[in-house]
Subunit: 218 residues, 2 copies
């Protein structure tokens, strides 16, 4: 989307940048963990980790909020791609729900720290911060909504309020994922199972509501 000023350095005068936006993002990711959230990062800390002077940070980002938004977008794109792959992979082997839940939790366990960001930092931080997180979530909802419609047609089953159904599933899964971050790994399997049942519940519910609507349209 946004071309970094350092990616295309065609014949411009001046000293070459020794560091790129991506390097700073990578440094910020290195600092994150179960006890460190993006909103607790300091400019100096990130600069230190990236091996640059504090002031050099400003060459790449206006402020920490801009870094945070970049991280959120990155996390969203990354996770969407993984879930997308899981979706296609699952249609043949296991159920879609199970496949996506597994992929989700696998990613959680792998912990490239991107997922952490998306899961828990949407509720804190500045307005720009929250807006970016909401936007990424809405992307998920949209993709899921289309998938639900496709699935309902295929199975010839009802689907009450596709958008709301997608939203419910997305929010619930993310909320459950956020709690998983605080849990030891040996509880993850149990939690994955819980997520699967919950999602099945919502799907069964949307089908039931659709059925009762056609039967009782008043």
């Amino acid at each position: 989307m946004s071309d970094t000023p350092s990616s295309v350095q065609l014949g411009l005068p001046g000293r070459k940048p020794v560091i790129s936006r991506e390097d700073i993002i990578a440094a910020a990711l290195k600092l994150l963990g179960p006890t460190r959230s993006v909103s607790t990062l300091s400019l100096r800390e990130v600069a230190r980790e990236a091996g640059i002077a504090p002031n050099s940070f400003y060459r790449h980002f206006r402020d920490l909020d801009e870094l945070a938004v970049a991280l959120i977008d990155l996390a969203g794109e990354s996770l969407r791609q993984i879930i997308g792959e899981a979706r296609q992979r699952a249609t043949s082997k296991h159920s879609v729900v199970q496949g996506c839940a597994d992929a989700f939790m696998d990613q959680l366990r792998a912990d490239d720290r991107l997922l952490h960001i998306l899961l828990r930092e949407g509720t804190v931080g500045s307005a720009a911060f929250k807006h970016a997180a909401e936007r990424q979530l809405s992307f998920f909802e949209d993709e899921l909504r289309l998938d639900l419609i496709r699935l309902a047609k295929m199975k010839n089953s009802g689907l009450h309020e596709p958008a709301l159904t997608a939203k419910a599933i997305t929010r619930l899964v993310f909320a459950m994922g956020a709690t998983a971050l605080n849990l030891p790994e040996d509880k993850h399997a149990e939690l994955t199972e819980q997520i699967v049942v919950m999602v099945r519940m919502i799907i069964a519910g949307t089908q039931a509501l659709a059925a009762s609507k056609t039967k009782n349209p008043a």
Copy 2:
């Protein structure tokens, strides 16, 4: 639960405390808002707001984490009471779901800032911090579970995995509530409606799953 050292001052020597735990909690609440979360509060700031010297804070709390846990517990108890009232009030007038959702959103709008804490701070902060939030959520789940069982018996409808159903509803409602905090007030009605439909979806789902289980026990 825990008696404050200042609440019962029977014949002890020494200077009387000019400020109580509750005063500090109130000061902290005053500082919170849509842009300030508990985890961003500083000890000095709270002490300043409470009108005491920074060090005096330690007389009442070991550290900010202890304050945060107190705030979370307070928020949980407060909200549970309100939801409890809504539950009883709703059984006669409207549906239980609608009544509770309304009460929830009313409380959100009223913004005594307690709800904000519970909604969004469970995902950030120290381990003690998160644990306190999880505990409060589990209280909600438990109350809701009992209610669901009662309701299912009354209406003679099925109920697949009561605990999971309660957990799904709780987490989903809280997640939706958290997003409501970032929304302007004129969107709250729409969001309340969404929550109601979502909850109905889950309830319909748990009933459908229960029905399919009795039909197909294999």
